[in-house]
């Protein structure tokens, strides 16, 4: 008996020694000073993305275009799920060190987190070695896709927040979308329709609560920093933010708008707009083509969001990254494919086939850009404001902040609880998270 106990204890001890230090997967520093970025042998690679069903024919066409012109590399595109699922799967694969794709898309807010955690390969040497014209992307996009000066991702499918509105209805009823947040009250009152018993039959607009990217800009343009300069605290409970939050709550209470949250919130919002139960919705420019295709009864317009002291918007959509834990062969093939995906012509294909914005300066500022506008006149609202599209706030704890912010705002807007008290509680939690992850 004693022997058995002794044996098992030793076994346990031995095994725990194996894991005592934790997963110390030290990255093997590239020994050879001159790393080749060329693809020399045939290789098959995987590309993970979050493009929904309606984009799959386009994906197949673009990937097919690459495969047929690059004999050594075969790319398999895989739809993993939405951005959240993609993030979870990517991080899990990174932690395990296996099952990583050669190339992956990711939602823009993850850039800082991934950069800090070492998930992405630093692309700066690749850019240098192949003389890639990264500056064609413009300073804003470069900043948005870097972390601490390193180009850890590249811009892929870029979008920004816009307000889709019912142009037909606007012209018929003389509704004008205000340029300033201060003028919104009047606009909302005019554009809302109510039944005799006071319930809203047509909302002036709908505010997405499931992703803070949509209402973030209202705060930023009202002078709220969200993450203070000290990087470990938030001003989301400060006077400017509190005032704005109270305004939102007031509008919801008055029935001018509702706070879209929960499962199916996005598709319900879309449906309400299509059914003309909402005059406008705040959504992403990337869904432009989808709206155009789904709306049969009226003309869809796109407007810049009402502004405050500033009229900034934030970059959204996705970036491309190469996971760091792959071997060099895979990374080289991924780099080849990456260049193709963000190349000028392919980028135009994406922009035409979806609602994503052309990303290249060499397109936006030239006649090609004008031609694009002729095909999609509604995009004028965006083109007029290109300089206002800013990189997102970079902080390793950003996603945790967003989760907390959303869940508190959900309660404030939908349940109508006290704004001051809850924003205080929220700020405490966020401060703790920010300090923890810096």
């Amino acid at each position: 008996m004693k022997k058995i106990v002794l044996l098992s204890a030793t076994l346990l001890l031995a095994i725990s020694m194996l894991f005592a230090g934790g997963v110390a997967e030290s990255k093997a520093a590239p020994a050879a000073p001159a790393v080749s970025y060329e693809v020399t042998e045939p290789i098959t690679i995987e590309w993970w993305h979050a493009l929904e069903q309606q984009y799959w024919p386009l994906v197949d066409e673009i990937v097919g275009g690459f495969n047929s012109t690059h004999p050594l590399i075969k790319v398999e595109a895989k739809y993993i799920g939405n951005y959240t699922t993609l993030n979870e799967t990517l991080v899990a694969a990174h932690a395990a060190g296996t099952g990583l794709p050669a190339l992956s898309a990711a939602n823009t807010p993850y850039v800082a987190e991934y950069g800090k955690g070492g998930l992405t390969e630093d692309l700066t040497p690749y850019i240098k070695a192949t003389n890639y014209d990264i500056d064609d992307f413009g300073a804003g996009m470069i900043a948005a896709t870097s972390y601490e000066g390193k180009q850890v991702t590249v811009p892929f499918l870029i979008s920004t927040q816009v307000m889709y509105y019912n142009k037909t209805m606007a012209e018929k009823e003389g509704i004008v979308i205000p340029a300033k947040i201060d003028d919104m009250e009047a606009f909302l009152a005019k554009a809302t329709k109510k039944a005799a018993d006071g319930t809203t039959t047509r909302w002036a607009t709908i505010i997405p609560g499931w992703d803070q990217w949509y209402f973030e800009t209202f705060y930023l343009n009202s002078g709220v920093k969200i993450v203070n300069d000290d990087r470990v605290s938030t001003d989301l409970a400060g006077p400017a933010a509190t005032a704005l939050t109270k305004k939102f709550q007031d509008w919801v209470k008055k029935g001018y708008t509702y706070w879209a949250s929960g499962t199916s919130a996005s598709s319900n919002m879309r449906q309400n707009f299509i059914d003309q139960k909402a005059f406008s919705v705040i959504h992403t420019s990337s869904l432009y083509n989808t709206y155009i295709n789904l709306v049969k009864d009226f003309e869809v317009g796109m407007a810049w969001l009402p502004a405050g002291e500033t009229k900034k918007s934030e970059i959204g959509g996705s970036v491309l990254l190469i996971p760091a834990k792959n071997d060099q062969k895979t990374k080289n093939a991924a780099w080849e494919f990456l260049q193709y995906l963000i190349g000028k012509d392919v980028n135009m294909k994406w922009a035409d086939g979806t609602g994503y914005i052309p990303t290249r300066n060499s397109v936006l500022n030239t006649s090609e850009g004008q031609e694009f506008l002729q095909r999609k006149p509604a995009f004028k609202a965006i083109f007029d404001n290109l300089d206002e599209i800013n990189p997102r706030i970079q902080h390793a704890g950003w996603n945790q902040l967003a989760t907390i912010w959303k869940s508190y705002l959900d309660q404030i807007m939908i349940e109508g609880v006290s704004v001051d008290e809850n924003l205080q509680l929220m700020a405490e939690e966020i401060n703790e998270v920010l300090a923890d992850s810096e």
Partner: protein, 295 residues
Amino acid sequence: MTHEPLSHDQAALLNQRAIAKRKVATVLQYVFAIAVTLFMIFPLYWMFITSVKSQEEVLLALPTFWPREWHFENYRNVLSRANFSKYYYNTIIMTAGILFSQVVTGVLAAYGFSKVRFKGQKILFLIVLGALMIPLQVTFIPLYIMFANWKLTDTFLGLILPEMVSPYYIFMMRQAFLTVDDSYIEAAKLDGMGRLGIITRVLVPMCKSTLITITLVTFTNGWNSYFWPKIIAKNETRRVLTVGLVHLRNTFAGLDTMNNHEIMAGAVLAVLPVIILFFVFQKYMLTGYEKTAMK
């Protein structure tokens, strides 16, 4: 309390009333039972009905209770587009692996804890039982990290290993083996049978019904498992049916309610094998749960 003796007629009348009362009670019981049964079976009926409707019919404001046309291609779509055939394959292999290892280790250990003696047997048996109190919901964190380190994520081994041994199985088989009279064992030994022979040719055949019952429970639990497979097999390559069905539902969320006809088809595919097994092996499955209650 004393009763006056009843006359024949009075007794007959009382008897008739009693019979009538019983008839009413019986009818009531049937009505209740049938109503409740229909109510309970409704979700499965609704699942199946939705799975053969067309997309438009599913979304009608006034739902239909019998499909207008039968759309079995929903199943074909789910199998090919949503990769359900791969999920089926993964689930079968995983369940088979768990089944095989639980039976083998279980039967062996049951023998070791019932028909023989060795030092420390009692304590070791308690250790086996003690494992029953340590749920996967607590140990999954280090288990996941262990498997990630051993590069076993998204593999069959990863799916099977944590469930290879079941203390419940060992316990139940041991109970069954204990009821086998030792004289059979002695006789077998005299015939020159070794351990394996005794186990496979004496004990197991004599405890067949228990074995089948518990094995069916193991199969069901394996087929229906969700928690661990979701954690260890995130990638599509080794995803199992249960996780795949939920994943299907979530990834159609962008178009949400519009795809329920296919999601239900997926659900039918996922739950059908166990339901079939249930009806075939009903006798064993029902007694299995009763046996545990009777302890």
